[in-house]
Symmetry: C2
Subunit: 339 residues, 2 copies
Amino acid sequence: MSDGIVLLGHGSGGILSQELIQDLFMPHLTNETLGGLEDAALISLDGLAVGSLAMSTDSFVVKPLFFPGGDIGKLAVCGTVNDLAMRGARPLYLSVGFILEEGLPLADLERIVVSMAAAASEAGVQIVAGDTKVVERGSGDGVFINTAGIGVVEPGIRVSAANAQPGDVVLLSGAVGDHGLAIMTRREGLRFETPLESDCAPLNGLVDNMLGVCPEIRVLRDPTRGGLATALNELAEASGVGISVGEADIPVHPAVAAASELLGLDPLYVANEGKLIVMAPEACADDLLEVMRAHPYGREAACIGRVTADRPGRVILETTLGTRRLLDMLSGEQLPRIC
Amino acid sequence: MSDGIVLLGHGSGGILSQELIQDLFMPHLTNETLGGLEDAALISLDGLAVGSLAMSTDSFVVKPLFFPGGDIGKLAVCGTVNDLAMRGARPLYLSVGFILEEGLPLADLERIVVSMAAAASEAGVQIVAGDTKVVERGSGDGVFINTAGIGVVEPGIRVSAANAQPGDVVLLSGAVGDHGLAIMTRREGLRFETPLESDCAPLNGLVDNMLGVCPEIRVLRDPTRGGLATALNELAEASGVGISVGEADIPVHPAVAAASELLGLDPLYVANEGKLIVMAPEACADDLLEVMRAHPYGREAACIGRVTADRPGRVILETTLGTRRLLDMLSGEQLPRIC
């Protein structure tokens, strides 16, 4: 694959990323826990009387470091908080590893740290372990941040990418494409009348409320790298089901639609950092939509489709023109260093 | 400090690193758990019936990626395993985050992953969560790796940097300086008759055996960045005690001593990746030395000194010339990107 070298596309969250994981990492690192390729791993612990423990990690290399709606620090906290929440876990503790480039203004670093503290406070998690390394000028790019986190899954909660069942509803917590377009327009120096803002946010509070009305939630996933389309494909494959979604039902902010057209991007493939997909029994749909819309991070929640028995592993888009087409995974690299 | 920008010395593990932590990170991120500045944090978990949980993280930016005795992958696994073990925890689970530079040969990445798998297997830990990001050529340097880990501390074990008490013996598990000198001579292209090899190794098995004969161990610390001298200073400060060590009692391999002289380095300030300092009641000293010397990673264990009530926060070196001098912390950057 790829002439034997790492390509930017290997970090895209799309097909090349999957190949890297399947062909290079999994043959050597696989075990029962890692094999599932969930957002967070469920791990067992002797002496843990109730529930189970979830662990997750993410590194952040977003460029620029500061963008409308957030910065690399907020992103680093929210990213791992959300990965834990997507497993139905209550995030509790984070570790933080900084890789700093020589010459970074300390004022920038402080701004990032302040932002991490605020995000951790909002999410109700504690940063309990940290590490800092410094590399020479030109061997890094300002700041890279890794966060790892652990959380607790209450007994009875069974959320997994592999749990979708035919007949389940597919809900989305809000409009897609905000984060990726905010980064891209900032990077390209584009200005719009309505400024584009990242949706970067901790989703654990929203998930708490959702599990409160529907503990039977089967699947949660935040559509980050690769966007909604890639996430839906991963879920269809992991659960061995088909997924059918209606193009007209997927919320996209007008400014995002306009910027996407200008940049030649499809918002369905653009990263989000404060949105989630939920699949649940149909009986839960109304209750879920109600609590989602009552939460600041779910106000634009919508039912976008349905899990089907036919075409397992595939995602079908019913277009606004009334046609049906296959919605593929992201192939290659659409937006490098989006998170 | 430092004209307001990040310097290489901020990553040294010495005085600049401490300033960065105290002046920039702690004011914003401090909480009861992070405040202790231990190698790993002890965290509480509702429903955990016995013992407590430890969490730690470390990023690795070592250059070159491959060196005699190890590589960045082995180092990344051992580093976090050891940080957990230094809190008296049994390491159980690791997460891994890769930041890859575009153009890295996939064969190099695979070699690193194979090495991580072997180290994890030796240490008896599972890699349960992972993440990969890719940055453009020139924005990274081959591979950076973050690992985070969790482990369990058995009830009754109370190991902390703050627990040293006057009268405790200070033992060292073997010769110092091997890792740092192996990296430096490799980087400088120097060759010696006796090749220098990193001591990179997982120390949790050794610690298990030590806690088996002396559950009252008060302090464990692996002298990584900043070396033995810096670690001893940190411990003296954290415990509010003095430490007196004998220069002649500190094992240094002849090849390391020779290379240090050539390069103008002091092996007491050079990083180790497979050594530990232990402080324990004197009654345990013989038993500890016996189990340490019976273990492959403790064969050259030695008693190097004593915890004292006088000169709290200071480390005194009794030199081979019979004089006594203050052994300071590392100031500035001695060896960048040593781990």
